[in-house]
Amino acid sequence: MPKIAIDPITRIEGHLRIEAQVEGGRVAEAWSSSTMFRGMELVLKGRDPRDAWLFAQRI
C-alpha cells in the first residue's frame, strides 16, 4: 500500500506537508505537518504592548 508525502503543498500561503497512507484507492490515514517554525511569541516577549499588533499582523 503506498504511503505518499506531498511537500510542499503548493498554491497555499506558507509551508505544509501532508503524508497519507493510501489503501484500495482511498486515503486510509493522513498526517498534516507544518514544516517551519514561526516563533512570533518569542519575538513579542518584553515588547511594548502598544507595538504588538505591528508584529502580530505579519502572521
Binding site: 503543498i9 486515503v27 507544518s34 517554525f37 514561526r38
Partner: protein
Amino acid sequence: MRAVENALGIKVPDNARIIRNLISGIQYVQDHVIHFYHLHALDWVDITSALKADPGETSKLAQSISPWPKSSAAYFKMVQDRLKKFVESGQLGLFANGYWGHPAYKLPPAANLMAVAHYLEALDWQREVIKIHAILGSKNPHPQTYLVGGMAIPLDPNSASALNADKLALQRQLLQTAKTFVDQVYVPDVLAVAPFYTDWAGLGAGVGNYLAYGDYPTDTSEDPARLWLPRGVIFRRDLSQVHPMDHKEITESVTHSWYEYSDGDAKARHPWDGETNPKYTGPKPPYEFLETDKKYSWLKAPRYNGQPMEVGPLARMLVAYASGHQGVKAAVDGVLKALGVGPAALFSTLGRIAARAIETQLTAAELLAWHDQLVANIKRGDLRIHNGEKWDPSTWPHEAQGWGFHEAPRGALGHWVRIKDGAILNYQCVVPSTWNASPRDAQGQRGPYEASLVGTPVADPSRPVEILRTVHSFDPCMACAVHVTSAAREAITRIQVA
C-alpha cells in the same frame, strides 16, 4: 490589537470600529476570490482542456449564467489564443505544476475556458479593489494605520491629507466594483462548476465540530450578541444547537508537536499560560517520512473542550445559519436549493467552497452599508477616531491580561496577552490554520485536515489531485509571512511516492 485593548479596558470610537470592519471586510472579499480562482480553481479546472473549447459555446454558457459583459465569443477566443501562446512557449509559469488531464477533472472544455478567463480577470480585479487598504491603511498587505485605542487616520472631509470626501467617493466606487464581480462572476461560477462535482458534497467532512469567534461589531458595546457574524460552537454536525463560546475552554497540546512544556507534554495549556519552547526531534532532512507516531509538526494542537474544531467560512456560515442569522440563512438556503441538496451537503469539501462564496457575497453587500455609516458619522461632524485615555502606560495596572478575537478570512484567530509593568510578559497566538492543520493531540485525535482526508479517493497516488482538493478547500495559510528559521535549512521541493 484587541488583546491589548481587552487587557487594558480600552474602548475604540465608532469610526475606528467601522474602519476596522471595512479593512477586514474587503480583505475577506479579495482573499476569498483569490483563493477560489488562483489557489483552488486549478484543482477543478483543467487548463489543457480549455484549449479545446469552442469560444462560441463558452460565450453561450457564460451568458446563460450571468449578465457579466465580458462574455462574447470573440473575447473567449482572445483568452484562448493568449493561453495557447503561453502553453506553446513551454513556460507554463502560473499554470505549471498541475495534474492536467487527470480523470478527476470533470468540467466540459467550455466551462474550463470560462474559468480560465475569469482567473485572469480576477487578477486585475483583486489589484483594484484592495486599493481600499491603501485608502484606509496606507498599504496592502499589512495596513499601517492601526493604533491601540482606535485608528491612526485623520477624518476630515476637507483636508487633502485626511480621509476626505474624494477618498470616500473612490472607496464607494471600489466597493461597488468588488460587489459586482462577486455577484456576476464569482458566485455564478461556483454555482456553475459545483454540479459537475456533487460527489465532493459527500467527501472531506472532517471533524464535524465548528468554532466561530464571530466578528464585525455592529456597535461599540463590545457585546458578543452585537457581532454581525455570530459567535458560537457546533459539535458533531448538530445544527439544532449552537453552544456559547468561552475562550477559557481553549487549550493547546504539544504531544505531537516539536515543542516541550516545562511541566511535561501530557497536559494541554490555555494560551494565557501557554509556552513556546521549540525542540525539533524529527528526522534530519532529507528524509522520506516523518515519525508520525511521535512529534511531527511545528503546529501545536488547539482544542476546544478537548475537541478538534474546524474554523473558517464554513464554520462561520454554519454557526450563523444555525443561530438563525437572516441574511446567512436566506443565502445558504438559496445555494442549497440551486444545487438541489440538503444542509448535510455543507459538511464537505464542496460545502467549504460554497460557504466561502456565500460569505463573500454577503460581506460585499454589507461593506457598502458600513461605508455609508462612516459617511453619515462624518457628515454629522463626528470625526473621533482614537481614544487616548489609556495611551500612557502610567494609567495601566501593574499586571493585566487580555484576549483578542478576530475572524480572519481563513477562520477564528485568537491572541492572548499578559502584560506586566508595561511590557509583554507572554503572548500567544492561535491562528486559523493551527486549528485546521493541527496534528494529533494527547488523546490521538486527528486534526481537521487529517480527519477530512480519510476516505478521500486517490485514483493515482503519483498525482494526488483529490488530496489537494480537500486540503485547499480549507484555504491553508501556514504562518503566512514571518518565520524564524535556520538559514542553512533548504526547502524540500520534491514529491515522494513510496
